[in-house]
């Protein structure tokens, strides 16, 4: 139930207009129109605001010159390398955390301590350790993914072994059977969510890192454009980072749903 507007409008046609799915595009369209008008009117200096048409043209120019792909691929390479490393490490560490209480005793406090350190705060320290290159960026990405995945894996496995261990004992399943038929399917959803959250955080931290210290990559492209007052390039970068972030999140969600549906079908 929601409150209605304090306006004397007739309920039915107004409601139908608002609830039409196309209505969702009104605000973005209005924004673009206002933006273009503001630029056309000359009221705003061209250094402060670049018309959307020019942003589009700049985007095309960057694509055709290959510069966009160069920076994009650099960023994506770091993201995926760090993601794979962080996920593998996180799954192993998390599995140990979830199954072996002794492991938690020895390594738990260190894990929780290091987890408190924000990724971006590590950037200067990592630069001093590894220099400004690929390594430290991959480490930053890996760190974000590792802690997210390890935490999700550890907690989900621990939850599973609590609830379903009796079932396993009842059916007298071997260790491997228990792993395959109980632990893995039950912890799949939380682990995938952990991976998704880790990827999201990693992307945010990677863009920030490239803004601060990098010779290539989307963030560096945007930062250099900022210094050269090329607002159109900056806008292209903003749109692109947003689209990639969205695509990564959606992509993993689709995979998550597909895997869970298959799992549901097999059950």
């Amino acid at each position: 139930m929601s409150l209605s507007l304090p306006l004397p409008v007739r309920a039915l046609p107004w409601r139908r207009l608002i609830n039409h799915p196309g209505f969702l595009l009104v605000a973005p369209a209005l924004l673009l129109a206002a933006w273009q008008t503001a630029c056309n009117s000359g009221a705003v200096s061209p250094q402060l605001l670049v018309p959307p048409v020019q942003v589009w043209r700049t985007a095309l120019a960057l694509i055709s010159s290959g510069e966009l792909w160069q920076n994009l691929s650099a960023s994506l390479y770091r993201l995926f390398t760090g993601f794979v490393a962080g996920t593998v490490g996180g799954l192993v560490f998390g599995a140990l955390l979830g199954t072996k209480p002794r492991f938690v005793v020895w390594f738990g406090p260190t894990f929780n301590l290091l987890r408190q350190v924000p990724g971006i705060a590590l950037v200067p320290a990592l630069i001093l350790l590894f220099g400004v290159g690929e390594t430290f960026k991959i480490v930053v990405v890996g760190k974000a993914v590792f802690f997210s995945v390890a935490l999700a894996t550890g907690e989900s496995i621990r939850a599973v072994s609590g609830r379903w261990s009796e079932v396993g004992e009842l059916y007298r399943l071997s260790h491997w059977q228990r792993l395959r038929y109980i632990t893995l399917p039950a912890s799949l959803a939380p682990v995938l969510t952990g991976m998704r959250i880790g990827l999201n955080r990693a992307w945010m931290v990677l863009v920030a890192t490239e803004l601060i210290a990098s010779e290539s990559g989307l963030g560096q492209m945007m930062e250099m454009a900022r210094q050269m007052f090329q607002m159109d390039v900056v806008m292209v970068g903003i749109v692109l980072t947003g689209v990639i972030g969205f695509a990564l999140d959606r992509g993993l969600r689709v995979i998550q749903r597909a895997l869970l549906r298959r799992q549901g079908a097999n059950a």
Partner: protein
């Protein structure tokens, strides 16, 4: 580790950090390759003493905290207002909702170059980044909290024939408080991290982030590490503090 961990286990938990510290110390004294990266512990201690006694650490920390608080205030107020409007008006929701979610996809610090172009390397730029950082969690959680007022509470309000304002103030708002608090807690974490990030990107003026960046340029690893530890401790303290506060004020809800 909970409060009921037996103390032998607590000691065992400290073994790994101790081992790591020992390895660090060994590398600091015996390795020449990463000489400026692995600074010995006594040098870190010296750096800490120096930055505490000449006030540098506290000045920068204070500036960061002030900035975070200011940004938190602005962002939370804006977020609460926005979340409230989106929840109470389906028109506003349909109008601004898509735009809001689309803009949310952009990583926060990716807005920094744009903000830098408009505001330069200045305090408003930093505050804007911090406020934006918490706008999203606060708005989303406020929206959710207000949206999910339980049906029976609303029916009760209808029975008492409360007008719109009373219904909001006495029924929807108290019901939304736990969710709003969750939003504020997330906002605090984001605010602190984005404050550090904003200081590293707009590094004029005092602040832990710019202190860290300057130390990195001067290759003073001990200052960098001190800053990292300070940032982490402050972040953890803030989370604990706010969690305790939330528990205390929401006790009636249980």
């Amino acid at each position: 580790m909970s409060a009921s961990t037996p103390w032998p286990d607590r000691l065992r938990g400290l073994v790994i950090p101790a081992v790591l510290l020992t390895l660090w110390q060994w590398a600091a004294h015996h390795s020449t390759v990463y000489a400026y990266a692995f600074v010995p512990l006594e040098q870190i201690w010296q750096g800490l003493l120096q930055s505490v006694t000449d006030g540098g650490l506290f000045i920068n920390l204070g500036a960061s905290l002030a900035r975070t608080s200011a940004g938190l205030l602005i962002g939370s107020v804006a977020g609460l207002a926005l979340g409230g409007i989106l929840a109470l008006s389906p028109l506003a929701d349909k109008l601004a909702g898509t735009l809001f979610h689309a803009l949310r996809q952009v990583p926060l610090l990716a807005w920094a170059p744009l903000i830098g172009l408009w505001f330069g390397n200045s305090e408003p730029a930093r505050l804007l980044v911090i406020s934006l950082a918490e706008l999203y969690p606060v708005t989303l959680n406020t929206f959710e909290g207000l949206h999910q007022t339980e049906q029976r509470h609303l029916e009760l309000a209808g029975l008492y024939q409360l007008n719109l304002w009373q219904q909001f103030w006495r029924v929807r708002l108290p019901g939304a408080l736990p969710q709003v608090f969750t939003g504020l807690m997330h906002a605090l974490t984001f605010a602190w991290i984005s404050a550090v990030g904003a200081e590293m990107l707009f590094s004029a003026g005092p602040g832990i982030g710019s202190m860290m960046l300057t130390a990195e340029t001067n290759q003073r690893m001990e200052i960098v590490l001190i800053c990292v530890i300070t940032i982490s401790i402050m972040g953890a303290l803030m989370n604990l503090g706010l969690a305790a506060l939330a528990r205390r004020s929401l006790r009636w809800h249980q």
